[in-house]
Structures are given as C-alpha cells and as structure tokens.
Symmetry: C2
Subunit: 198 residues, 2 copies
Amino acid sequence: MKNKTTRDHIVEAADQLFYRQGFEHTSFSDIAETVHISRGNFYYHFKTKDEILDAVITLRIANKKAMLDQWKLDGRQPLDRIRSFIHILIANRTDIKRYGCPLGTLSTELSKLNHASQADATKLFTLFRTWLRQQFILLGLEKDADTFAMHLLARSQGVATLASAFDDEEFINQEVDQMYHWLNSSIETAASESSIHN
Amino acid sequence: MKNKTTRDHIVEAADQLFYRQGFEHTSFSDIAETVHISRGNFYYHFKTKDEILDAVITLRIANKKAMLDQWKLDGRQPLDRIRSFIHILIANRTDIKRYGCPLGTLSTELSKLNHASQADATKLFTLFRTWLRQQFILLGLEKDADTFAMHLLARSQGVATLASAFDDEEFINQEVDQMYHWLNSSIETAASESSIHN
DNA sequence: GTCTATACTGAGATAGAC
DNA sequence: GTCTATCTCAGTATAGAC
C-alpha cells in the first residue's frame, strides 16, 4: 500500500475534489494541480472524465466494504455494528457539515446530470442498505429489516443535508441521539411483540 | 397574473430547469430554447446567470409563502397544517422520485459551488423551519418546537434523497406513514408530560 | 510516463442592428 | 424588446517530443 502509482494519486485527489466541489464543477486542471502533474499526463491514465468517476466510485465502494468488514473483524455484534453506522455521522461531522454526505450528494448530482454512472453511485447506498438489513436480521427483526435499513439511511441523509445547509454541527449530535433511541425502542417493541406470540 | 412578461417566462423556465438539471448544468441556451427566445434577448432581462438564480430563489420563496398562507386561509389548524407539510412528499412524489427535493438539491449544489446565493437558498429551509416551529408552539410544545421542526425537515430530506436514488415511490408512502405516527406520539408524549406537572 | 503545444467545443457575455 | 453576430474564456481532449 506504500508505493502508490500516479493513477492512485489521481483517483484519490478526484475522490476528495468530487466530494468537496462536485463532479461537474471539478475540472481536469483542478485534479492535475492537486496531484502536481500536467493536464496532458492525465490522459495517459484516463481517457475521459467519466472514467475517473468510475474509478472514484469503485474506490469508494472498496473503502466502505473494508470499513464494514473491519467492524466484523473487530468482533462487534450486530447491535453495536448498527450503532457504529450511526456513529459515522459523528466521526465525520466536520466534513458532513461542510460538504454533506458523500453518498447522497454524488447520487443526487449524477441524477440531475442524467449520468450513466448514476446506477453505480446507487450501489454505494445498496451496499449499506444490504448490510444494515443483514444486521437487523441477525437481531431477529427479519420482518422489518429492510424497512429499518432504509429508514436509517434516510435519517442519515436528512441529517447530513440539513447540517450542511444550516452549517450546524450540534444538530448532528441531537439527531444522532434520537437515532440511538429509535434503535433501542425498535428492538424493544419487536422483542415484546415476538414474546406475545411465544 | 394572466399577462406574463418575458421575464416571468424566463424565471419560470429557469426554476423548472434548475430543479431538473441542476443550476450549473443548465445553460442559457437551455433556458432560451424553453422560452423560445434568442440567447441575446436574454441579456436584456438578466445580466448574469447569478441574477437568474436570485430571481428563481425569490420566486420559490414567494410560492412557498403563498402555499403556507393559503393553508391558514383554508382554516386548517396547527396539527393539520403540519400534516399538510408532511403530505407535500405525497403530493409531489413523482417529481421527488425523479429530481429529489427542490430545496435540498439546490442548497447542496450551491454549497459545493461555494456560491454566493447559498445563504438565500437556505432561507427557503428557514421559511419552513420557522413555520413548523410556530405550529408546534401553537400545539403547546414550546420547549421542543425547533427540535421537532428540524427533525421533520431532516426526515423529509432523507426520504426525498433515497426515493430518488432508488427510484422508489413506495418508499415515500412508507416513510410518510411513519412520520404521521411520529407526530401523533410526539404530541401524546408531550401532553402526558405536561399533565404530570399540573 | 510525463511533458508542452495545440485543437475543438460550449458556455457566459457584449455590441449593435432592427 | 428582440434579434444576429461576435468575443472571450474555460474545459475536454489530442498529438507528438522527451
């Protein structure tokens, strides 16, 4: 992982710039400047801007998968894994306040551009959706697992959007607390419902 | 309201196009084409693209204010007004599924562009935030009125973002039902808490 | 693999005729 | 108020030297 190629540097720089400035608003010059290479050199590595976007999305998916896998390797149990997911909002609150959620803002932008890679951007959401659903299933909440997963994703998105719009970091803390409460009461409700049938 | 000026037509076309394609991605040619005027004529009405953006934001604020005022004129009570707010997601579900929330997507885009009008876009959110807070106050929930207002705004944003990403209209219905339930239980909880102190 | 030079395009913006 | 013609510039992309 030490000897990064120029290509790696380009993708990482593009990843950051697409997040902070948006895909369309980021030019080849912006990326070239960040990586300290000429614009011409660029085209040796990527023939079009869309190719860089694909590489960025692939990188993001790999990074998020690695993060989720690590949580498992750390021995965290399903409930704690879901809490870890919610905690991402806290861990990244400074960036979220400034630039919103990297998943949501990219997905929204590509949607407006009617961009071919929009489906790939949605895969990032699907990764978390599937993973969250799985954790809820492991908690014994098979019936509503996907509903819960989507609900948590939506809450996270909304928090990121408004924290950014109002430049309000404290709002993130406030909503995260409510999400933890929601998680606890959802599990309790489901547990009592299932005990009724036992 | 019948005899619309060319300027009015430009602003309305820009409003639609900015919503569907995004601000940056919409060119003067796009707008001129929609309005059936030449690009040159354009500059008689607006000197820069930013001026059109300001006009669009002003129009949106006026439209939303008119909508909220109308609800009051209709004689709806605070609780029903909040329900009407939630119901916007249902009423506009087709557009929301395709283009997301007009407030959130513009605010997010301008934020990434580091655009001077970002603050004005946030005013649209503030309009709803203040209004929702007021309705919760009228319901006797002074203490948490702003927290409730922001919570509802965030939920709406999240729903719009995910409905658009997953192209899923049914998800909107599902989450709206949950929001109605949340509203009822929040009021009940607050009422029982206040009765304790009586 | 990296550079410089250059072509091409589309976008914002201006000038001036009608 | 509306048009055509034109300018300028930034952005994507290519060619070819090193």
